[in-house]
């Protein structure tokens, strides 16, 4: 298990939403599946991050009815969020490769 780096949670959320709208727990579940439970993160910390993204207009939310008849808030990626994800992912790749280059030579 690794600690989630500051700011990467946002990236993971955006990635999770890339496949379609989800409610909070769904996002949490999808992030865990995508990462094979490799990241250690309190599930609750998802929500402040979600609200921040919402304020940036990267995600949008609506209260909806779940198939089981529960009142849930469903999040979806906005067009702006998709563009932001592409850019962030590119940034991350450059960052990761650079760091790998520095640390890689053992």
């Amino acid at each position: 298990m690794v600690e989630v780096l500051q700011g990467t949670l946002d990236l993971l959320i955006l990635k999770a939403l890339l496949f379609g709208p989800l409610h909070g727990w769904g996002i949490s579940k999808r992030v865990r599946q995508l990462s094979n439970d490799a990241f250690h993160v309190y599930q609750g910390s998802l929500y402040p991050a979600l609200y921040r993204l919402e304020d940036k207009d990267w995600v949008d939310s609506d209260w909806d009815e779940s198939p089981e008849g529960r009142r849930v808030r469903v999040y979806r990626l906005t067009a702006k969020g998709k563009r932001a994800f592409a850019a962030e992912r590119e940034n991350w790749r450059v960052f990761a490769e650079t760091l790998d280059l520095v640390l890689g030579a053992e």
């Binding site: 409610h23 909070g24 727990w25 949490s28 579940k29 309190y42 599930q43 609750g44 910390s45 998802l46 929500y47 402040p48 609200y51 921040r52 919402e54 304020d55 207009d57 949008d60 209260w63 529960r70 009142r71 849930v72 808030r73």
Partner: protein, 889 residues
């Protein structure tokens, strides 16, 4: 969408919080259900789900902090907190609010008065490029021009000025057909036809007359007249009225802010094209063609890009031209330019001097504000230090430094806001006080400071800015120390840090210095104004009444009937029981309407060499009625009308000036030019004040009214009994002769010349108010500082008293240093006034800056008040109960 969401967060925080909570609880529920599906027992699943989530409360809080408009809520909470803590210390809150409120409100009122008198530009287009143009010949300055000369100058200066306007002023009677014909006169301005276009005034209603309307029977009325006389009737345009009996059509209403270009003169009620002079100005034949009738004031608008030096050289050239073309009239003519950006009255005081007085008063305002702010600042420092314990608790609960500073600054802002609220009634009361100090004039005057929201706004802005600056020090002090220090200091109640102690002491000294400075300067002004008021005007002020009358404003009067009226009036007044003397003249000294002429010895030709003398026309008995002693010779007598050489009376100043070696009696002189008519001196009267209080002795001469009859006159009656009774009898006498003839300004002689005293009295009241304000603020300042010292050192004082310290030594301990600093500051301030010239000299009259009586009494007063304030604050220390103090912590 985004804005709506944020607004909802701001407006319905509870609802949003409930939703967040709901969402998180659902998350835990779903996670637990998921675990149950994987075979975990329900209770364990619930526990694991909660653990994995990590605490609903924490994340709710974190989510809220992610809200972008969170600071608004935080500010609202800060304001609530500030209000609560201010309520807990009512004495502090009240002191600070009153200090700020009084300082701001009084300042705004004084600033408003200065603004309306000297600083507010004319309500016209680009007032900065307007200049008043007057002639000067030797000592005689501010000479008006004749209409032909106006036309010459305007034509010649077309390259320098976009246009030149000419105007003359005087009273007219305005009446409506079929209405009361004895309506009181109103002030009229007769202008060239380009007047409104050139000044750039926009009518409030209707239109103005324009170039080409010079002789049209139309008039523009003032907004005030439209309101008072016509109840703002919107159908006023096209209304027919009579002016001095002739028919005119109202074509426009001037805007409320526009009242001509002059200051301290009467408010114009109507504007009339000058070509109509034959109908409105009695005996004005040839006014537009006769070069000798110099009745016009000129105002010009300088073209863009023309420098003042270019304008001056240009008008110098036109002056030389005029002198060459009309050597007799314009010998040695010079032309002066006076900026007419603000309303001006060069006869009373130069615009520079008015601006100087304004600046000094403004500096006074600023100083008072600085004292008030320093005051509140030192109170705040004291408060912050006392609240160290509270701050320490908040620091230990995790409040950041930034949050604490923000909180403390909010508190000083709330305080400033309370002060601003308190300032509003103070401002209105002070403004009303200033208005009642203003003299009541025959025609409404432009002198009227109004409570102005613009002024109040800037005052409040200034103070809020100051509150921030002064609040920052205490706030940083309060939040600046680390937790450990804060807790330790709470335990020890030590001094509030050396740096802040220094700052506080500097504040005390500075505040005392400024207060004493304001007090001493105010004292000097009051003393000098008192001197001016006590000055013997050279005539008898009491037991006399005056009024003015102008029969030829009525179409029923011509020259012959006017003469008849006056001879009957003179006889009836003289025969009135209780009347000791009466007479008539063109003006009464100090009533603000005098004029001057140039005097030449018989045989002399150089106009510039002769002295200028105050000029007046008087009837036999006028000087006696006025109470001006005749030193040699005699007053005018009825037989003077028949004398072959016209008699003249001169004052001793003129007599000594012209004939220093011998008696002036029987000597001869001429007026204005070498071929003016010859005059022979028949009497010498003692000089009096003529134009302003405190003027240097002026030369003056009097000619016989009966030889130079006019329509307009001021009547002076000296008699026994009350002024009111005398006035009533005089009014009955006039009514008995002609009940339809209006008279104006009937009242005591003192009232008649109140204009001369008004400026002095207003200034004295202002100076006194400033001095009192400075003193009050200094007293509350030192009170605050020492009250703080007492509360801060309670424990130490308690121990000392428990150990047997005497009250006197306790007093010395808490008040000694502060009092010493105050005295030092006060003394420095007093000496500063005496030693450093600060532009005060030119305002002082019969008093020097170093006047010992004023310096000593002001400094003494300051010392006594400071000591009393200090003692009353320190007294608490003496009355402390040692045991209860020691139990405090």
């Amino acid at each position: 969408m985004k804005l709506g969401r944020q607004l909802r967060k701001l407006l319905r925080p509870a609802e949003v919080a409930r939703e967040i909570e709901e969402e998180m609880q659902l998350h835990i529920r779903l996670e637990a259900d998921d675990l149950i599906r994987q075979g975990v027992p329900p209770a364990e699943a619930e526990r694991q789900a909660r653990l994995a989530f990590g605490g609903v409360g924490r994340f709710t809080e974190e989510a809220r902090d992610a809200w972008p408009l969170r600071w608004v809520q935080r500010a609202a909470a800060d304001v609530r907190y500030a209000l609560r803590s201010l309520r807990q210390t009512p004495a502090f809150t009240l002191t600070a609010t009153v200090a700020l409120g009084v300082a701001m409100g009084a300042n705004a009122a004084v600033f408003g008065a200065i603004d309306s008198l000297a600083l507010r530009p004319l309500a016209v287009r680009e007032p900065g490029s307007l200049y008043a143009i007057y002639g000067a010949q030797g000592e005689a300055t501010l000479l008006p021009f004749s209409y032909p000369t106006y036309e010459d100058i305007a034509r010649d200066q077309a390259a320098t000025f976009t246009g030149l306007v000419a105007f003359s002023e005087g009273p007219v009677i305005i009446s409506e057909p079929g209405r009361d014909e004895a309506a009181p006169p109103v002030w009229a301005v007769h202008t060239s036809d380009n007047y409104f276009a050139e000044l750039g005034v926009v009518p409030a209603l209707g239109a103005f007359y324009r170039a080409g309307d010079l002789a049209s029977p139309v008039l523009v009325i003032s907004h005030a007249l439209w309101t008072s006389r016509f109840a703002q009737d919107p159908r006023i345009i096209g209304r027919i009225v009579r002016i001095n009996g002739s028919t005119f059509t109202i074509i426009g209403v001037a805007p409320a802010q526009f009242s001509g270009t002059r200051l301290f003169t009467y408010d114009p009620a109507v504007w009339i094209p000058i070509g109509m002079h034959a109908q409105t100005i009695p005996a004005s034949a040839g006014l537009l063609t006769n070069r000798a009738l110099s009745r016009f004031h000129l105002v010009g608008r300088v073209r863009h890009g023309v420098t003042e030096a270019q304008v001056r050289s240009s008008v110098d050239r036109v002056a030389r031209d005029l002198a060459a073309r009309f050597p007799d009239q314009y010998r040695a003519l010079e032309i002066s330019l006076t900026s007419n950006r603000t309303p001006i009255n060069p006869w009373l005081a130069s615009p520079e001097r008015i601006a100087l007085i304004g600046r000094i008063a403004l500096i006074g305002c600023l100083l008072v504000l600085v004292i008030a702010c320093a005051n509140v600042s030192s109170l705040l420092i004291a408060r912050t230090t006392v609240r160290r314990q509270e701050i320490a608790v908040r620091v230990s609960l995790g409040a950041s430094r930034g949050r604490l500073v923000q909180q403390l600054l909010t508190e000083s802002l709330v305080l400033a806001a309370l002060g601003a609220l308190a300032a509003i009634p103070v401002h209105y009361l002070a403004t009303r006080g200033l208005v009642t100090l203003m003299p009541t004039l025959e025609y409404a005057s432009t002198l009227r400071p109004a409570a102005s929201s613009r002024v109040l706004f800037w005052g409040v802005l200034l103070t809020v800015g100051a509150a921030l600056v002064f609040g920052l020090g205490p706030a940083l002090q309060g939040a600046g120390r680390g937790l450990a220090t804060a807790v330790r200091e709470t335990a020890g109640r030590g001094g509030g840090g050396r740096r802040w102690a220094r700052f506080r002491e500097a504040l005390v000294v500075g505040q005392a210095l400024v207060s004493a400075l304001v007090l001493v300067a105010g004292g000097l002004l009051v003393r000098s104004l008192q001197r001016a008021r006590e000055q013997d005007p050279g005539f008898q002020l009491d037991h006399a009444i005056a009024f003015t009358v102008d029969p030829e404003l009525s179409p029923l009067y011509d020259r012959a009937r006017t003469r008849q009226f006056y001879s009957r009036l003179d006889a009836d007044l003289a025969g009135l029981p209780g009347v000791r003397a009466s007479g008539r003249a063109l003006s009464i000294p100090l009533d603000g309407s005098g004029g001057a002429v140039r005097v030449l010895l018989d045989g002399e030709t150089d106009v510039k060499a002769g002295p200028a003398a105050e000029f007046n026309l008087i009837t036999p008995g006028f000087l006696t009625a006025l109470g001006t002693p005749i030193l040699e010779g005699r007053e005018f007598i009825p037989d003077d009308t028949a004398a072959t050489v016209e008699p003249v009376i001169v004052n001793d100043v003129l007599a000594h000036r012209l004939w220093p070696e011998s008696s002036a009696l029987g000597k001869r002189l001429r007026l204005q030019s070498a071929n003016g008519s010859l005059l022979v001196v028949v009497g010498i009267a003692r000089a009096s004040l003529y134009r302003t209080l405190g003027e240097r002795p002026r030369a003056a001469l009097w000619l016989s009214w009966d030889r130079n009859p006019r329509s307009w006159t001021v009547v002076l009656v000296r008699g026994d009994g009350s002024s009111a009774g005398l006035a009533a009898r005089v009014q009955r006498t006039v009514r008995a002769i002609d009940p339809s003839l209006p008279i104006s300004g009937l009242g005591s002689l003192r009232d008649h010349i109140s204009v001369a005293y008004a400026a002095v009295e207003t200034a004295a009241a202002g100076a006194l108010a400033f001095a009192g304000l400075g003193l009050l603020l200094a007293a509350s300042g030192i009170f605050g500082i020492i009250a703080y010292a007492v509360s801060q050192r309670q424990r130490e004082i308690g121990i000392r008293m428990a150990l047997g310290a005497r009250p006197s030594s306790v007093l010395r301990l808490v008040a000694g240093r502060a009092l010493l600093l105050t005295f030092a500051g006060g003394l420095t301030g007093g000496l500063a006034v005496a030693l450093v010239p600060m532009g005060l000299d030119s305002l002082l009259l019969g008093v020097t800056r170093g006047d010992a009586a004023v310096l000593v009494s002001a400094t003494l007063l300051f010392g006594i008040v400071a000591a009393l304030a200090a003692l009353s604050a320190a007294w608490r220390a003496v009355r402390l109960n040692p045991m209860s103090v020691l139990r405090l912590d």
